[in-house]
Every structure is written in structure tokens, then in C-alpha cells.
């Protein structure tokens, strides 16, 4: 029996070995090495030279670091709650037992399948200030309300510092399909007997939502909020394509864009590693905070 169990263990390890090797070589080692490099002057092309806390000290005097951090926080603080509200709303609508339910679910999920680069190219045209779908739509709307002398003129979304970040947030809302599917799955688990009981007690739909549905899916909300927050902190590909150098005037220069430029374009891998670790600590602290804040607000049926 013992021999069989040890044979099984060896087989298990052997099966996991390809992943273990890959994880150690491509994840664990680079992660550990990056701690050391963050204390070095290192361009990738020459051996690292240990410089102590120089990179970390320099970062706190770096105005572009502060600017990129502010841009990222702005994006996280606005986009995460907004996308949470919208995706929950969509999931509630798509949970309704109506004809064509499968079609609507597919329809709203579809944008999440568009690759990031294609998405950026598509939205470059949607946001085009003269011929874009959005501003043309606003112009048409303005035509309908012309009788009231209203004239809605869409802003230059991509070239105005006031509108560039909101444009990106607006875009992010379009791709909330994955979160929406998770909410939908959560909604399936809301006990029917609770909803029926509240019906019998004469609860209104909004009261059922507030006192039954939302509390019952609160663990799913917490999970999605944390995942959305981590994703938003790491925003990179779309703004990198749509806004070269964080244009206009670095209003869309996000943290990971600066990290990438520092490592790959400016050849300062040590400095970039320090940035990476600061980002890690930031996300870690924010996640812990979210868990702490949600402790008394999240309902776990097993707990």
C-alpha cells in the first residue's frame, strides 16, 4: 500500500514536472532576481552594479513616476466602481427569463473576445473627433434637439487632456463581458426560496435586490472588484497603442507604460524592477484593504 502510494506520488510529481520547471525558470527565478536588480544599476546589457536604495529614492523624486501613478489611480478609482455597477446591471438584465436570452448573453459578451490591439484600432475611429461614430451620433442628436437651440458638439476625445482618460474608462466599460458572466453564474446560485419568501412578504423588486440578491452574490462582487482593480492598475496595451508617449501631455501615461519604457526603451531595468515591486506592494495593500473593508459586508453561506 505504502509502495503504491509513493509510486503514485512520483507519478504525480513527474506529471507536474513540465509545469514546475516552466514556473521555476520563467516565473520564480525572474521574480526573485528582480528583487536584487531593483537595488542595482542594470541595463540588461551589462552586469548589474549594486547601488543600494538609490532606485527607490530616485523614484520618489521622479515627477513622471508621480504623474503616471496619479493617472493610474484616477483610472482605477473611476473605472472599477463604474464597471462593477454596469456589469452587475447587465447580468441582472440577462438573468431575466425572456425570449432570445442566449442571443443577448452572447451579444453582450462578444466585445470581450476582441483582441486588445484590434480594440484600440477600432476605438481610435469611434473617438475620432470629426468623423467618429460617437461625435457623429452626438451631432445627430443635436440635430433632433435643434428646435430647442441645443447644440451638442463632441469633444476631441483623444487630443484633449480633459477627455483622454474618460475616453479610456468609457472603452473599458465595453469589455466587461468576463465579469458579467461571473455575476450571471453568481445569480444562478441565489436561493429561489429566499426570493419566493420575500415575494410572499410583499417585497418590492428593488428591496429584493438590496436585501436578497446583492448580499447573496457579495462574494462574487468582492472577487470581481479585486480582479478588476488588479487589471486596472496594470492597464497597458490599449493606451500604449492609442496614446503614444501618453499623449496628450502625458495625461494617459499610466504606471505600466512608464515601467515598460524605463526597462525596454531607456535601458534602466534596475529602476523598472523597483517600479515593479512598488506596484506589487501597492496592489497587495489595496487587495488586503478590500478584504478588510468587505469583512462584515460579504456573506459566505458556508461561514
Amino acid at each position: 500500500m505504502k509502495a503504491r502510494r509513493s509510486k503514485e506520488s512520483i507519478a504525480g510529481v513527474l506529471f507536474a514536472l513540465p509545469w514546475l520547471i516552466g514556473f521555476t525558470v520563467f516565473m520564480l527565478y525572474p521574480v526573485c532576481a528582480s528583487i536584487y536588480y531593483s537595488f542595482c544599476e542594470y541595463s540588461v546589457l551589462k552586469p548589474p552594479i549594486y547601488v543600494g536604495f538609490e532606485n527607490y529614492v530616485d523614484l520618489f523624486h521622479d515627477d513622471i513616476f508621480r504623474k503616471s501613478l496619479w493617472n493610474t489611480f484616477f483610472y482605477v478609482i473611476i473605472s472599477v466602481p463604474l464597471s462593477t455597477i454596469i456589469t452587475i446591471g447587465l447580468a441582472l438584465l440577462l438573468n431575466a427569463k425572456i425570449r432570445g436570452q442566449a442571443f443577448y448573453r452572447t451579444f453582450f459578451y462578444l466585445p470581450s473576445l476582441v483582441p486588445q490591439t484590434a480594440l484600440a484600432c477600432l476605438w481610435l475611429w469611434v473617438f475620432n473627433s470629426e468623423h467618429g461614430l460617437l461625435n457623429m451620433g452626438l451631432e445627430k442628436l443635436s440635430g433632433h434637439f435643434w428646435i430647442f437651440h441645443w447644440h451638442i458638439s463632441g469633444p476631441p476625445w483623444l487630443s484633449d487632456t480633459t477627455w483622454s482618460k474618460p475616453a479610456l474608462i468609457f472603452m473599458a466599460l465595453w469589455t466587461g463581458g468576463n465579469a458579467m458572466v461571473i455575476y450571471l453564474a453568481g445569480l444562478q446560485d441565489v436561493p429561489v426560496e429566499l426570493l419566493e419568501a420575500s415575494d410572499l412578504d410583499g417585497a418590492s423588486p428593488s428591496a429584493k435586490l438590496r436585501h436578497v440578491t446583492i448580499p447573496m452574490i457579495s462574494p462574487v462582487i468582492l472577487f470581481n472588484v479585486i480582479m478588476a482593480m488588479i487589471g486596472a492598475f496594470q492597464i497597458f496595451a490599449v493606451p500604449y497603442i492609442m496614446f503614444p508617449n501618453g499623449q496628450p501631455a502625458q495625461s494617459t501615461y499610466f504606471y505600466v507604460m512608464y515601467l515598460f519604457d524605463t526597462a525596454i526603451v531607456y535601458h534602466k531595468m534596475g529602476y523598472a524592477c523597483a517600479m515593479g515591486w512598488i506596484m506589487f506592494i501597492l496592489i497587495f495593500v489595496m487587495t488586503l484593504l478590500s478584504l478588510k473593508v468587505s469583512e462584515k459586508r460579504v456573506y459566505y453561506s458556508g461561514g
Binding site: K46, D63, S159, D160, T161, N245, I264, Y266
Partner: protein, 442 residues
Amino acid sequence: MHLGAVKTVAGIAVILGSVIWSERIVIHNPPPGRVHVVYWEKWTDFEADAMRDVVDAFNASQDKIYVDYLSISGIENKTLMAVSGGDPPDVAGLYGQNVAQYADDDAILVLDDFCKQKGISADRYIPAFFKIGYYRNHIYSLPSAPASVALHYNKDMLAAAGIAEPPKTYEELDEDCDKLIKRDPRTNHIIQQGFMPAEPGWWNFAWGYWFGGKLWNGKDKITANSPENIRAFEWIQSFSKKYGTSEMQSFRGGFGAFNSPQNAFLDGQVAMEQQGVWMSNFISKHAPHLKWGAVPMPYPKDRPDLANLTVADEDVLVIPRGAKHPKEAFEFINFVESQKGMTILCLGQRKNSPLKEMPPEFYSKHPNPFIKLFSDLPKGPKTFSTPQMGIWPEYMAALSTAFDEVNLMQKTPKEALDDVQARMQPKLDESLERLRRRGVIK
């Protein structure tokens, strides 16, 4: 059970077959007995075809070396990674502005001895193009396809506005813009503009040079906020002041991609634009009926010495550190640097040549009607290029941000350039200190 085993074997055979087949598709086997030189280059489309013709001509000219051309996007970043990983190509086609940074990082080889052996020296080249690869008294790169910049103008638009000739000075350009601007009477939106400093936005660093400024002293001092640079940025801001910041931004926000018929110059939204020698390719591709011309960039009226100024742009060939066949790689570079190689390359890419002497048929066969202008402009004594400094990518990004801030009226030109100065001088000091620490400079 038996069927299961057959299925497993068949599955493994299909996977193995796919792996072997895909390897055969991807890997080019050079002819036996020849040294295989791997060459990474940034170009695609007809520009890649031109270099492939050079490679084919080289491969056919001898039987000892075989060059394999590979189009690579993000060439500078991938070369960096390949060098650090110890498996770089034998030849890489970088941008001229990469040379100082890659040389400082010891990522590319010094070509002095190779050049000496082959008799390649500065005499062969137009000085501005040779200088791009000559850094800290060593040759680090040699030119592949160069370019120079001039003011392109739409003849019909100028004629319709009653302008007989393209502007020679910035003061004349301002007057022409006043004549060329058109607005939608209903919305007051700009629908046509004479010139926009932000278009195409590729030489935002160069505005100071056009007004007689410099970005550093060539050694240890940043000069971003020199009076000439501030004057240039004041001229840039004058457009926003005169025509309205949001109107200009809104108008610009409607432009299509550069390589498309919706390009602002090609579809007649902007009458004049600073552009490189390559623009004629895009005109013939997207707007073949456009009547256009090219003249030197304007100069300030009180600085006639800046007439006929241009920026020398250049793609370069380097041998990365760790290349397996540097000697053979240079044989190929030597072929590219010949009149024969440059004729195939620059004619194919429809650009000017970095060489002083080119055969007469180069000019007679060239499809760009203004090739003589683009060839002659870089011969001027004041031709400038991007500064040779390791921190150039950061400096360029800072200047680009300052340009935006001035263009959007967020800062005065002096404030924006003072900020660049304050940010970049410590960066330069730090970079020089690091080079000293590593013994690259004294």
C-alpha cells in the same frame, strides 16, 4: 483497448508531424558550405523588398556567405533582448538615434578595424549621414537608407488661396496660414488649415533647430531652454493663440492614419507639412492626382543663415555584440555601402543616398521628382540630426510632452522648456556618472 492505443499513437504522430513540418516551414536552410548570416531589419512592404533585392544581389555575387533577411517589428527592443540573451542576429537594422544608447551599453561592435580593412572612411559619405554612426571617435554603424526633410505643399490649395509661391520664412508661412484657413460657418469648426506644427508630430524635438537652437552642448550641458528653443516654442503656441486650442485639437482629432487616404495632407485638409523624402511614395499610393511640390523648410526672417536647413534621418546597420559571424556580417555591410548596393536599396525605397557620389542613372531613374532637393539639402553645413546621447529616448519624450503642453496652452514656452531643462540636466549628469563608473568615459 487496442483501438485506444492506436488512437494514442496516431495522436502523437500528428503532433510530432506538425512540429517537424512547422520547423521546416520556419527554418531556412542556407546552401551547404556557406556561412549563414542572420540579418534582422525593421522594414516591411516595398521597403523590405528593396533590401531583399540587395540581399539577393549579395548572395548571388559570391559563394561563401549566405544572408538571411528577416523582417522584425520593434527591432530596437528585440535586438536589445537578443543581445542580453546572448543570441543576437549577425546584422541588425536599427534607427540612427539608437546608436549612442546601444554603444554606451556596449551592445554593438566597434567597426573601425572592419572599415579600415575594406577602405571605408568618412570621405565616402555625405558628412551628416556618416556622423550619425560615428560616436566617441569610433564607427559603430554605417548608413542603410537615409532621409532628409522638406516642406511639402499642395499646389492647388495654395493657388486657390491666391498664394503664388510656397513660403520661404516663418513670417510668410504665418501670412499664408491666415489666407488658407477655412471654417464651417455653422459650427465655426476648422475645416482647412495651412500648416500645423503638430503634424505629423515626428520631429517635435527639431523645432529649436529650425530657429537656430541646439538641445545640448555636445558634452555635458542640456540647453533645452535656450532663447532660440523658446522662440521656436512661442511660434508653435502662436497657432493655438490665433486659431483656438480646442478648435485646432478638434480639427486634428479628425485626421486619419498617416498611411491612408485620410492623411490630412493627402486629402487636402492641411496645405503644407514638413515631411521626409518618403512622402512621394505615399502620395503616389493614396493621392496620385495630388499636385504637390517640395521646398526647403522656412527660416526666421532675421536668420537667413538658416535657409536650406534640413534634418538628416537615417536607418543604420550594426553588428550586435555576441554575433556569431561578425566578419562575414561586415562583408554584407560592405556590399550595402557600395554604389551598387545603395543604388538598389535607395532606388527601391525611393529615398536619397548617403553616399557623396552616385551614378547619374540613380537620379534619372528616381521616381521622386524632387530627389535632387532631398539629396542636396543634407550636404548643407548646418544639417542636424538627433543628439548623440544615451539618454536621448527620455529627452525626446520630455520634449514631446513640452510640445503638447505648449500646444495645449497649459504652460508658457519658457515654463515648459524650463521644466525639460530641470528634468534632463540631472538625467544627463547621472548618465555621465554611470558611464564614468563603468569606465566608458573618464
